[in-house]
Amino acid sequence: MTVSRRNLLAAGGAGLVAAGCAPVAARLTEPTKPLTAPRPTDSPNRRLADRLTFGPRPGDLAEMESLGQEVWIKRELAADRPDPLPLTLQLHRLDALWMDPHEMWDLPENMIVGQLQQAAILHAVHGPNGLQERLVDFWTNHFNIYGRKGLAAFRIGRIMQTAIRPNALGNFGTMLRSVAHAPAMLVYLDNQVNVQGVPNENYARELMELHTLGVHGGYTQRDVREVARCFTGWSMERRFLRKKGAFVFNEDRHDNGEKLVLGHRIPAGGGQRDADIVLDILAQHPATAQFVCGKLARAFVGEDAPKHVDRMAKSFIASGGDIRNVLGPLLLSDAIVDSPPVFKRPFDYLASAVRVLGGITDGSAAIQDHLAKMGQPLYQWPMPDGFPNEPEAWAGSTLGRWNFAFALTENRLTGTAIDWNGLEATNPKATASAISGQSASFDGTVPEAAALALCSPEFQWR
């Protein structure tokens, strides 16, 4: 990667380096291109970039224009572009992603949660496969785990690396089974105390209500108890001198009697296989197809989702839960461009703001603090339903968004930088317009105009 002199952080660089954020000096992106001419938010290309990815970086829309929408969408669906080297290097510093959980046992939880957030921000802002990143965020919330409960945090890195990220555009059943075997989830939903005789229903209930069938998916309280019985003994290794934090099946804590789940008889003596059968039943259930496709559709076409769910659910069943198959036709159709806007959650907002200004970030504490003030500290939503999507739920994040916009554009965030000179933006109105499609009269500087555009109602939607 070549870094031209003008792209070195001419404006804020010296101060930032002095503030101790050397990682930022390693540029994570291709040289920034100038913000182009006004692009109203109703431009189809802009909408595609906003919906499929965490928003365009400077130059992305021009690239989409030259590739053509179809080629661009197919490239996003393929999601096979390698990470740029600086991103790879940044991610490799994060022990929380790579260390074996038993090696992490003595590390402070705050450090682990901080690194997990850092990884999420780095990926969202700098990852080359935007659709993949949006889906990682989607599935992270679908399979939400509260990183402050028990020892869950120590296993979240592994679940992200082995269950969520590789399957985000892959097979739903594979992801579901992988998550179900992940100690982070089992511990978060108390399955380590789900034992023969007195089953603990927590994981069984949320598995059906939130991960697969949906609350109206046709299961009963009896099914909850039976599924809990199937999962008895699924736990995390905590014994002395064993590989702490690994998945373990405790045969002697398993209820080996016969079970009846959603009308399927699971014969006695199945051992660990009982719950594998349950996962197969759930992964292929028509209610799961409806529920999961409904959520996926809402992520991409918002309130238009009901128009598309049935067709997506059919494709979900036919393909055995292949997410690429389910999403491809939707994304390649006019549905995205024709649908009403979708509200950005704070994480969306933060990533899209840094991206639209061609900014770089190391995802460290300062930017995480702003995300927390906006109400979305990642991996810290206590309930298993994930952060809410409804705009009403985020009414309280407005001021946090504004304060982030000013801190970002004034280059006050340690570890994050906007290179105003590199952007070659000289006209405040044009800058505002390129960001939000609006260019209300404003007599301030380019960064001030950019801040206000990031604050605008238009930029809160994608």
Binding site: N200, V215, E392, C455
Partner: protein
């Protein structure tokens, strides 16, 4: 003179009140004129009642609040996480309940609330809840916040929003309904005039003073015409920033003496807003973490820690409010209680009936209200839950009619529910 008395009662502006109270430079007067119109308070609202809805998220175990120590069944179903009778000298002190009425005992972790109970400022309601049969947090919370018997068809807005919208007036202050947190609870969903803020003292726009007026004016302009949530929130946020800017020069000074916790900070801010007489009518506060499937603890541990924080924060809140206490009524509620029988993990699974509390202004306390359904197997509901003998809306209806002065209860709770229990005077 009240710093907030910008109008002279006939709708005219008292220039002296404005300048003295707000203490702003003359140069910014023009920029603030529209904000000024918005912070004029209707005289009958200025010293109105305040209702605080404290929602315990995750399904709080009502049996661990008001413990039915006289019932044999209780000790049978809670061999490990249960508490002892007040007179049981063989139990450790932190496991002995504090007697309330000869049948129920207060969890000793809630000892901070005992004086309020004895003084008649705190009432408990037991075996209270909704009709929810799903045992889903989200369904049960949504039903309660929409004010319905159970999740299903019905109005999609929140019960507090329906009250606020039905009684809205052009002179409502931007601080009429405040959620102390970063997200807005569903009970306020659809409210025309509600704001969420995590902390009062941090509700400031972080730009230099020289730019501030210009920036606020621009933000206001950008949000002024849209009907989308982002525009609505932008307008509310600008209005609130301006109102608080003015109020800060008055009496909005957070007190000390609260536990160092999120709940303590939130209640401290509610007290500050109540004292400042800025037109606050409804405040929503959440305390999460009650989903105690595992090792919930008795005497010490998870649930006792939550209870201690809850009790100590509420006690500090009413101490801080002092003479204002008579204006401020707090309702403590949760989406459902927990399974009566403790599980193998020394916790409890999702249940049905739980408890509520009413504290402060107008409360006829020193009493546990509601019909106790009992804990014998035949008396339980569903998979072994405390039955619901009082619809949660009978309690909230009393609050709406007696404290918020809104007699059109059908607007707020469209479905029929039980008769009032007389919890509020």
């Amino acid at each position: 003179m009240n710093d907030w008395m910008f109008c002279d009662g006939q709708g005219g502006l008292s220039r002296r009140g404005f300048l003295a109270g707000a203490g702003v430079a003359l140069g910014t007067l023009t920029g603030l004129s529209s904000a000024l119109a918005q912070v004029q308070l209707r005289p009958d609202r200025r010293e109105g009642n305040v209702v605080v809805i404290l929602f315990l998220r995750g399904g709080a175990d009502g049996l661990s609040f008001f413990v039915p120590y006289r019932e044999d069944g209780y000790h049978r179903v809670r061999p490990s996480v249960g508490l002892a009778a007040p007179t049981n000298q063989s139990a450790a002190a932190n496991l002995r309940t504090l007697d309330l009425d000869g049948f129920f005992g207060l969890n000793p972790a809630l000892a901070g609330l005992l004086p309020l109970y004895r003084e008649g400022q705190l009432a408990g309601i037991h075996a209270v809840g909704s009709n929810d049969g799903t045992h889903s947090h989200f369904e049960a919370m949504s039903a309660m916040e929409r004010g319905l018997a159970e999740e299903g068809p019905g109005p999609s807005d929140g019960w507090l929003a329906r009250h606020l919208n039905a009684t809205a007036s052009a002179t409502d202050t931007p601080l009429r309904a405040v959620s102390l947190g970063t997200t807005m609870p569903d009970s306020l969903r659809g409210a025309k005039n509600a704001i969420a803020m995590e902390r009062l003292d941090e509700f400031r726009i972080d730009v230099s003073d020289t730019k501030k007026a210009k920036v606020l004016a621009h933000l206001e302009r950008m949000g002024q015409s849209g009907h989308d949530q982002a525009s609505i929130s932008a307008r509310e946020t600008v209005r609130t920033l301006r109102a608080l800017d003015l109020a800060r020069t008055g009496h909005v000074t957070p007190a000390t003496g609260y536990p160092d916790s999120d709940l303590g900070r939130a209640l401290r801010d509610v007290a500050a807003l109540s004292r400042a007489k800025v037109g606050l009518e409804v405040a929503c506060v959440d305390k999460g973490g009650w989903d105690s499937h595992v090792t919930q603890g008795a005497g010490e541990g998870w649930v006792p820690n939550l209870l201690k924080d809850l009790g100590d924060c509420l006690a500090a809140f009413y101490k801080d409010l002092g003479p204002e206490s008579s204006r401020v009524t707090t309702v403590v509620m949760t989406e459902f209680g927990r399974r009566v029988q403790e599980n193998s993990g020394l916790g409890t699974d999702h249940g049905h009936g739980s408890m509520m509390m009413a504290i402060g202004g107008g409360v006829r306390g020193n009493k546990i209200y509601g019909r106790w359904p009992g804990l014998e197997p035949a008396q339980l509901s569903g998979p072994g839950d405390l039955a619901v003998t009082t619809d949660y809306r009978t309690v909230l209806s009393e609050v709406v009619s007696k404290r918020l002065g809104n007699s059109k209860l059908n607007d707020v709770f469209p479905e029929a529910h039980g008769a009032p229990l007389g919890i509020l005077a």
